[in-house]
């Protein structure tokens, strides 16, 4: 019953939030709130779902807690995965909202909810075929995330996402369908297994093993299938990257490992050469991804490659044909998903804070961002762990049992040695002299109490569904219709320079035909007492503009003069007592607006706190909290090798 409720809440939430978020306005806000509530509810339902140990059969023989006569059986691993995923998604949704407003949740929330439903079915499936089909359907959740991007390339990338989701699942399905017949063939021989090196049966099993390793590599984006992930990192909103890069590959990888452990491994085929080939390819792919992550100057791409490097490690469990690796492989997949969620969100916040995703331009980021620094250290700790931690045990098991012989040491040490320098590089750069990007960013801690940020919209006003939203303009009692700065993604917009504290005069420019263009670039001013003024460019396309390299100063003509006051109000006071704001205060009916104002003022600290929370969660999971390791080793119905 709990599982059914979980699936129902997820499905209804996905459809409802997807519909509402696409409509804009108040419906969009309701959709966002409803979607987050569904996430919370799913986490609660998953936490309360019964485990197989507590399932009891009634008088008719039906087992309570299961669905469709035992076709879906909730397990401990399902519970841990869904709870952690939905809890992390709540934080990620909050970060996405702070970064881009409700536009940042379009695609993300419905896709997350749909993926949770699909993953629940996948992990609860008692037959491999059902699990594989559900995993294929789960992979389709990346489509709304990709198509939420306004870029023209989104459609082509979405088409390739559909291909990778469906085709990989079907290959695993074919292997899972043929293998039982081979099993009959092999074990029917009264003199022992009929599979011998060079026999047709052994060749068929080796072919199936290679096919599964190949499709799992393609699904996680291991090199040479990394172009898809690289394109995704460029395309999707930063808050959506954890979903498409770390979580969505999990269901298919889990099912693939299950098929290998439960269907192929019992056949004990003599496929040593195929295993060696897979291990060598995995080692090369992991090393290549780690190396690219190290030399990559694009922060998003580096995060993508680090994710690839770690996720690809699970292919060792496929190569090993060892049912004992069923548990460590599932532990590893969950660890990587949680850890890389924290890392991707850290990168998104850093990119937003410093308005660049170029690693060299982030020099000095650590000093104004101690919370983000702590978060990155925790993420590194969660990635590698310490002796005795669940993540370290899983890594050692995969490298040792997966490869064996002379490979295990290389597979254990080399990825660590090659991926660790990427993190060290970021930390080292963070302690250097600050670049202009870092210099003008809002200080993390001071921003929470002393430095309210107010953004003033210059002409032209935004259009589209945000056209009716008010923004206070300097020396004017009339609100100007424009997109609020905190609702839009400022990433990529580069302020020209900070001016003196107090009265500041800034010359900015706009394109001569800005009014005639369908999506004009709206300059936005950041006003911070004591720090000066920054001007950033932002595409005004209904708040969905991606990172823009254009700045106000880059446009050729149409100069505008702007004078700024000597001081702004204190942090706990309204920024400008406009009539609209006064009306809100007198009505007393808009406590939510006041809360939003408070959140806006504390945005910088809240973002850092959210990243720190995710990093702490990742550390706890890596340590072995929530009983992750034993839940991952839980036998699953239908996987005979684990029974």
């Amino acid at each position: 019953m709990t599982l059914a409720a979980l699936l129902a809440v997820g499905a209804v939430g996905a459809v409802g939030s997807g519909w509402a978020l696409g409509r804009g306005g108040s419906a969009s806000r309701l959709g966002a709130i409803g979607g987050v509530l569904c996430l919370v509810l799913i986490a609660l339902l998953a936490a309360l779902s019964p485990t197989p140990a507590t399932l009891t059969a009634d008088a008719t023989g039906a087992v309570a807690g299961t669905l469709w006569n035992g076709a879906l059986v909730p397990g401990a691993y399902l519970r841990v995965v869904i709870v952690l995923w939905s809890a992390a998604s709540v934080v990620v949704a909050g970060v996405a909202w702070l970064l881009r407003g409700t536009d940042g949740l379009r695609g993300l929330l419905p896709a997350t909810l749909a993926a949770l439903v699909g993953t629940a079915v996948t992990l609860a499936a008692s037959s491999p075929v059902l699990g594989v089909v559900a995993a294929g359907a789960t992979g389709l959740a990346s489509v709304p995330v990709v198509l939420a991007s306004p870029r023209a390339a989104a459609a082509a990338i979405a088409a390739r996402e559909v291909r990778i989701a469906v085709a990989t699942a079907l290959v695993v399905l074919a292997v899972a369908s043929v293998a039982p017949v081979l099993e009959r063939l092999i074990f029917a021989n009264p003199d022992g297994p009929a599979s011998s090196p060079g026999s047709g049966t052994a060749a068929a099993i080796a072919f199936g093993l290679l096919a599964i390793a190949l499709v799992v590599a393609a699904r996680v984006g291991a090199i040479p299938y990394h172009v898809r992930v690289s394109a995704l990192t460029d395309l999707v909103a930063p808050g959506s990257l954890p979903l498409v890069a770390a979580w969505l590959p999990l269901p298919l990888a889990v099912v693939a490992v299950g098929v290998v452990a439960g269907v192929l491994a019992p056949l004990k085929p003599p496929v040593g050469s195929a295993q060696a080939l897979i291990i060598a390819a995995t080692l090369l792919a992991t090393l290549a991804a780690a190396l690219v992550a190290l030399i990559q100057d694009d922060l998003r791409h580096a995060v993508g490659y680090l994710t690839i490097a770690d996720l690809g490690f699970v292919i060792l469990a496929i190569a090993s044909l060892d049912p004992l690796l069923w548990g460590p492989a599932r532990t590893w997949l969950l660890m990587v998903a949680v850890t890389k969620t924290a890392l991707a969100v850290w990168a998104a916040v850093v990119e937003n804070r410093f308005e660049t995703r170029s690693v060299p331009e982030l020099r000095g980021w650590l000093r104004p961002s101690p919370l983000l620094g702590c978060a990155l250290l925790l993420i590194v700790l969660a990635t590698y762990g310490l002796p005795g931690w669940a993540v370290m045990n899983a890594r050692v098991a995969l490298a040792g049992h997966g490869a064996g012989g002379p490979w295990d040491a290389a597979l254990l040490v080399a990825p660590i040695l090659l991926t660790l320098p990427a993190y060290v590089r970021w930390l080292w750069l963070g302690m250097g002299a600050a670049t202009s990007h870092v210099d003008r960013a809002t200080p993390e801690l001071a921003g929470m109490s002393k430095l309210p940020t107010r953004r003033l919209a210059l002409t032209p006003p935004a259009r589209g569904r945000n056209a009716g939203l008010p923004i206070e303009q300097e020396h004017s009692d009339t609100p100007v219709s424009a997109t609020p700065g905190w609702l839009a993604a400022p990433a990529g917009g580069a302020p020209d320079r900070a001016t003196q504290a107090g009265t500041a005069t800034r010359t900015t420019t706009a394109a001569p035909d800005a009014e005639a263009e369908p999506h004009p670039t709206t300059p936005v001013l950041d006003v911070r007492p004591g720090t000066g003024v920054g001007v950033r460019g932002r595409t005004g396309r209904t708040g969905r503009g991606t990172a823009s390299a254009m700045t106000a100063s880059a446009a050729p003509t149409a100069a505008a003069q702007l004078a700024l006051p000597a001081a702004t109000p204190a942090a706990d006071e309204p920024a400008v007592p406009t009539p609209r704001r006064a009306l809100r205060a007198t009505s007393g009916a808009d406590a939510a607006a006041q809360a939003a104002d408070t959140i806006k003022r504390h945005r910088t600290g809240l973002l850092s706190g959210a990243v720190l929370a995710l990093a702490l969660l990742a550390s706890l999971v890596a340590f072995g909290a929530f009983d992750v390791a034993s839940a991952a080793c839980e036998p699953v119905p239908g996987i005979s090798a684990c029974s």
Partner: protein, 242 residues
């Protein structure tokens, strides 16, 4: 009694697959693909339950309707298979023959290898028992997989790529039914959901392609992000949204 009818249904599924890849009109191609996935559900020995057939029918109709609706405003001709009608029919005939022979050979191998140990209701039993329907199902699966290979592996058109995936789903379900692996009504329901969701995803992709490019062609996705690369002096005037 039913065997000839089911073999005929298998042939119709093959014909639908040919239409899906060879018809220049994207709407006809859509009809062909989803008809193939629907007919494929019926080529099974024993026949699927009524609930399973209804579920598969609903999934195919819903997925096909979504794609059909998304094709509103699409060009009347899109990038069909380079083989054309004669080539596609020839490839389908060859793949059907090869699939039939392979199924017969595999069934005989299983029957000889297992011998008296083979009982009904275990994976491969129908094939080893010489079921014509199982052989026709595997032959049809081979045809659909071969026809879908080109648009899936080397996609030029987002719509045709999606239809290729639908054909692959049909092929996979035929393989499962023919081998008798994991037979279950819930699995049939899962296939139906997968077909419907794949149709929805294809429809979304088609709508996005028509909105951004006016056609169904997949454009290059490897353009680098202009906001990140090292900038030259004149980069400020480039379109950052592309």
């Amino acid at each position: 009694m039913l065997t000839p009818i089911l073999v005929l249904v298998a042939v119709l599924a093959v014909a639908s697959g040919v239409v899906a890849v060879a018809a220049p009109n994207p709407r006809y191609a859509t009809l062909g693909a989803f008809a193939a996935v629907l007919l494929a559900a019926l080529v099974a020995d024993p026949l699927p339950s009524g609930a399973a057939v209804i579920a598969r029918l609903a999934g195919a109709v819903l997925g096909g309707w979504l794609v059909w609706t998304a094709l509103r405003g699409a060009p009347s001709a899109s990038a069909r298979s380079a083989l054309g009608w004669p080539g596609a029919i020839g490839v389908a005939a060859a793949a059907f023959a090869i699939g039939w022979l392979a199924a017969s050979s595999f069934g005989a191998t299983v029957a000889v290898g297992v011998g008296d140990g083979m009982v009904a209701d275990v994976p491969g039993a129908t094939l080893a028992g010489g079921s014509v329907v199982a052989r026709a199902a595997i032959a049809t699966a081979a045809v659909l997989a071969v026809l879908a290979a080109t648009p899936v592996v080397l996609p030029r058109d987002g719509h045709r790529l999606g239809l290729g995936l639908v054909l692959l789903i049909a092929a996979a379900s035929l393989l499962c039914d023919a081998l008798g692996a994991w037979p279950d009504d819930v699995v049939e329901l899962a296939f139906a959901v997968l077909v419907a969701l794949t149709g929805a995803a294809i429809a979304a992709v088609v709508a996005a392609l028509l909105r951004t490019g006016g056609d169904l062609v997949l454009h290059d996705v490897r353009a680098r992000e202009p906001a990140v690369r090292h900038r030259a002096a004149d980069d400020a005037h480039r379109d950052a949204a592309r």
